[in-house]
Symmetry: C2
Subunit: 236 residues, 2 copies
DNA sequence: ACAAAAGTGTTCGCACTACACCCATGC
DNA sequence: GCATGGGTGTAGTGCGAACACTTTTGT
């Protein structure tokens, strides 16, 4: 802890502390992550990067992450949890910056306009057959490849986390509107996990779990209407 | 991230960054945690606290935690993982300090002398019937009660983590010598989980898992000798 | 009537739980 | 021979995995 110095010990100067937020959503069966464009100046000029920013003196990293989420994605009161802290001394080539990474889950209906000053876009996170991830960065001419800083590592860590967590914590509903059909819920699971799920097993498991409750309404579509469900509790 | 300023933006000054390490060991069926004594000066004068210290400019938090572990507990090359980052603005009343907490698992045979300048002691972590934790702090006269800073929260987070992790990752062997008996392993599990385990179920589960291999040696004692085992891999 | 998505049950194997007695050794 | 910890098996139950066809609606 803090014993080695009282005010400032020159061997241990304060460091830059930032938050980076991996914002996920699922649309049309695809897992999407929000990326922003780096400025035209080095380092990583014009690369894509995770939204993030420095922590202010009077706020926790949780608050800084929530603030970033509002500023860059235009959303509030969404699922947001700490992921991991990345601290390699050279992760930012300009100066020492420790990044406390967060991940957020946002349902498409809560996505507002993106008020960010620089462009922010939703990119699909795909899974190769060998388990490797790839982000579908647009291949504009002369577009730099790869994510800025160590953001590819942060993204991979975040995807691993939500996949592991999805299997034993009901976080899937964070990516859906309050009312949903079982097929919609299954599509979310499949998008996050990157693999298909058996429909009958999925449905019986969810119904037995007591996590969801059937409503008296249906979603009409071009075919047979689907029963609507809601989660029994929005907190857990 | 770094985009908001290049060198230094006065709204986002650098912050103190420290590591705190929750070092666990198991001895005689008791889960122990290493605590150090705060100095005689505020804040938290003479309170017990987790070992920790500031992060140097040229090291990662992983390296800082390993360095702390060597300095305060006298051990190297032990299991050490990042736990969580604690960042409440007022968690250190003197100045803003963000703490990246780690937890370590050390087997008793690897514990060396404690080279720390101030006293460090192993305190038992017990579990009440209602699930609450308690640390058996020595009740010296005029001894301040409770851990310094937010260290009670960090400890509780660490205990929850190793309990959850023990059930699906083989971390138990980190707390044992390379060769061990099944009873010794079971005692470790019971100490960490804070509850008793059925002997037959425990043994059949471990043997079926393939994680351990029986050796041709036995541990002699005052009674029937016990077969010795080792873990099939020391990495996972 | 046809296309498309919704909805539904059974079997099988495995893992977890509960539970009680004999065995090998030192003293 | 006795005290002490080491070592073993079975029955019951619940959960996840595999697997294919019928139903309902819109067009």
């Amino acid at each position: 802890m803090v014993e080695l110095h009282t005010a400032r010990d020159p061997r241990f100067p304060p460091l830059g502390v930032a938050v980076d937020v991996v914002v996920f959503t699922v649309q049309e069966g695809r897992l999407l992550v929000l990326l922003t464009r780096r400025p035209d100046t080095p380092p990583f000029a014009q690369h894509w990067s995770l939204p993030g920013g420095f922590v202010a003196p009077n706020e926790s990293t949780d608050e800084a992450a929530a603030r970033e989420l509002g500023a860059k994605a235009g959303v509030q009161d969404v699922f947001l949890e700490q992921l991991y802290t990345f601290s390699a001394p050279d992760r930012d080539p300009r100066s020492r910056v420790v990044s406390v990474a967060y991940y957020a889950l946002v349902s498409p209906d809560r996505l507002g306009d993106q008020p960010g000053a620089r462009p922010a876009h939703w990119m699909q996170v795909g899974t190769h057959a060998d388990g490797e991830l790839h982000v579908d960065l647009p291949l504009e001419p002369a577009m730099p490849q790869g994510l800025a800083f160590d953001h590819a590592l942060i993204l991979r860590t975040a995807v691993d986390r939500i996949r592991g967590k999805l299997e034993y914590v009901p976080i899937g509903f964070q990516l859906l509107e309050p009312q949903f059909t079982l097929t919609e819920l299954q599509k979310v699971y499949e998008a996050v996990l990157g693999q298909e799920i058996d429909k009958r097993n999925f449905r019986s498991r969810l119904l037995k779990s007591g996590l969801i409750r059937q409503l008296d309404a249906v979603r009409k579509g071009p075919h047979r209407p689907a029963k609507l469900f809601e989660f029994t509790s929005r907190t857990f």
